[in-house]
């Protein structure tokens, strides 16, 4: 695995306030990581440095060999796919189809590829029957998926998702994360910002905890959720399965996912084993 993103000594200022105070981060190609932390910690700011939307006031951000200081955001469009928190800031076309095609047109992807890309992006997010609809006639949840579809159509190497499931119900959230998961399986690097800890515990492999502009922790996902002190310090919620395991004094392997299913499985075998 090679290094795809390298951030060194990143400082970021906005309106004379320093938001990021020296971030060092290295992301390999194909990783699936989550960025968490309280509001105001600088998560969105950090994301915006990944495609050159924001330039460092100090330090460097190198994505796939390109220094973000040297190029504008549009140059990174095919490399870094960015899903914004508010889909309404992105949607601009009169039909879902045109919306998904927007990026294809502007990044100069060959015309004959458009139809297939639009079809597959919309199908994967359950939007096939809405292709001719006006995005603004759809619910907020569907609009969020439309925005995501238009980013996916570009087949970027890195997919940056800023609260992608915030407007979704359980089914929609599952759909989106399954898509992200399968993209990750075929090599796309995923960077996720979310407040939904359950989601992160299920889909991400690495968690970076950002507090007040600094990296508080950078660990494997399960190690993160086991550390109650860290979660409290970062103002994050603890997870049910972890709480229960801890209360019951059950230990798990460091990298074993802790979900209701795995916990119940372990309990089941403990109980069954004890009976023989």
């Amino acid at each position: 695995m090679n290094e795809l993103i390298r951030i060194q000594g990143l400082h970021s200022r906005m309106n004379s306030v320093e938001i990021l105070k020296g971030i060092d981060l290295s992301v390999n190609s194909g990783e699936s990581l989550a960025l968490v932390g309280p509001n105001g910690a600088g998560k969105t700011t950090l994301l915006r440095h990944l495609n050159g939307l924001l330039k460092p006031s100090a330090g460097t951000v190198i994505v796939d060999g390109m220094d973000t200081r040297r190029a504008g955001a549009s140059r990174f469009a095919r490399l870094v796919g960015f899903l914004f928190q508010n889909p309404d800031h992105q949607i601009i076309a009169g039909s879902v189809r045109a919306e998904i095609e927007f990026g294809l047109v502007h990044t100069g992807i060959a015309r004959d590829e458009h139809r297939d890309r639009v079809a597959s992006a919309s199908a994967s997010l359950g939007l096939s029957k809405y292709l001719d609809a006006d995005p603004f006639s759809l619910s907020r949840a569907l609009r969020q998926r439309v925005a995501l579809a238009s980013v996916l159509a570009l087949s970027p190497k890195v997919l940056v998702l800023d609260e992608p499931t915030s407007s979704q119900d359980e089914r929609g959230a599952e759909l989106i994360m399954k898509v992200a998961e399968s993209l990750n399986a075929s090599g796309t690097t995923i960077i996720l910002v979310s407040h939904d800890m359950e989601l992160i515990a299920r889909f991400s492999k690495r968690v970076i905890v950002l507090v007040e502009g600094e990296v508080e922790a950078d660990r494997e996902v399960h190690a993160t959720f086991r550390d109650e002190r860290l979660l409290m310090k970062a103002g994050l919620s603890t997870l049910g399965a972890y709480r229960m395991a801890s209360a019951l004094g059950i230990a798990f392997e460091k990298s074993q996912p802790l979900t209701a299913a795995t916990l119940a499985g372990r309990l089941g075998s403990m109980l069954a084993g004890a009976n023989t």
Binding site: L53, G72, S74, N86, I92, H106
Partner: protein
């Protein structure tokens, strides 16, 4: 004494028009300056000094620029001094100084009163006044005014949209001003559409909080009192005398 902001919107509108009319009916720098002083006085009494101060600062810059342009183009009168005597360029006459100064102060006096009055009038009152006076449906006026109010947000939103589109490859980061303008225009229409869509939920929010455009066009609780009539009479008399002065003199 009753505050200006509590006057009925029609009275405020007439007062505003009187100030603007006076500014154009007089040729006296003294009167123009006193109009500005009057506005400043009103602004500080009403707690709108910050807004007024900012407006006047911006207008002063505009006025100075205007003065500079005008001052060199008026040749009548006695030359007071010349910029480059050897070349005979840039002569400034006493009449030139007076006239260009007057134009600028007139501009400041007439334009400055508008944001002052707007700051002192809550938008529902403006809506009621406009829809009542022009016979427009209150909802339509509400949409219009709300959309206008959102120009600062419109600009901010425009910025966010351009960022989002840049991330999808749209080359918004071009130094070419023509391309930039073209880009802004292209993005403006859908942006305006979303703003108008927003206006629907904004209207809902306004109405839920007590603003009902479908009701009477006069805002409640603003019954004109005698002081307003006095102020109106004084203003109208002043305008009339200025007009008369012009006609006679």
């Amino acid at each position: 004494m009753k505050k200006l902001r509590d006057y009925s919107p029609l009275a405020k509108f007439i007062l505003m028009l009187s100030v603007i009319a006076s500014a154009y009916l007089t040729d006296s720098l003294y009167i123009l300056f006193s109009l500005i002083v009057l506005q400043g006085f009103a602004a500080s009494r009403e707690g709108a000094w910050r807004t007024y101060g900012k407006t006047m600062l911006a207008l002063t810059v505009g006025a100075l620029t205007l003065t500079l342009f005008q001052i060199f183009s008026i040749d009548e009168g006695t030359t007071v001094f010349t910029l480059i005597p050897s070349l005979g360029i840039g002569s400034v006459t006493d009449l030139g100084i007076h006239d260009s100064l007057m134009m600028s102060v007139r501009m400041m006096a007439s334009v400055g009163v508008i944001p002052l009055m707007v700051a002192l009038t809550p938008s529902p009152q403006i809506i009621s006044l406009v829809s009542g006076t022009f016979g427009l449906s209150p909802s339509y006026t509400c949409v219009l005014i709300t959309a206008l109010r959102f120009i600062p947000t419109f600009g901010e939103r425009m910025g966010k949209v351009m960022q989002a589109e840049a991330c999808r490859g749209y080359r918004a980061d071009t130094a070419n001003p023509f391309r930039k303008i073209g880009m802004i225009l292209r993005l403006s229409l859908p942006l305006l559409v979303t703003c108008v869509r927003d206006v629907d939920s904004l209207t809902l929010s306004l109405e839920a909080r007590g603003f009902d455009p479908e009701s009477k066009t006069k805002p409640e609780r603003i019954k004109p009192q005698s002081i307003e009539y006095v102020a109106l009479v004084i203003a109208l008399l002043a305008v009339a005398s200025l007009a008369a002065g012009r006609l006679i003199g």
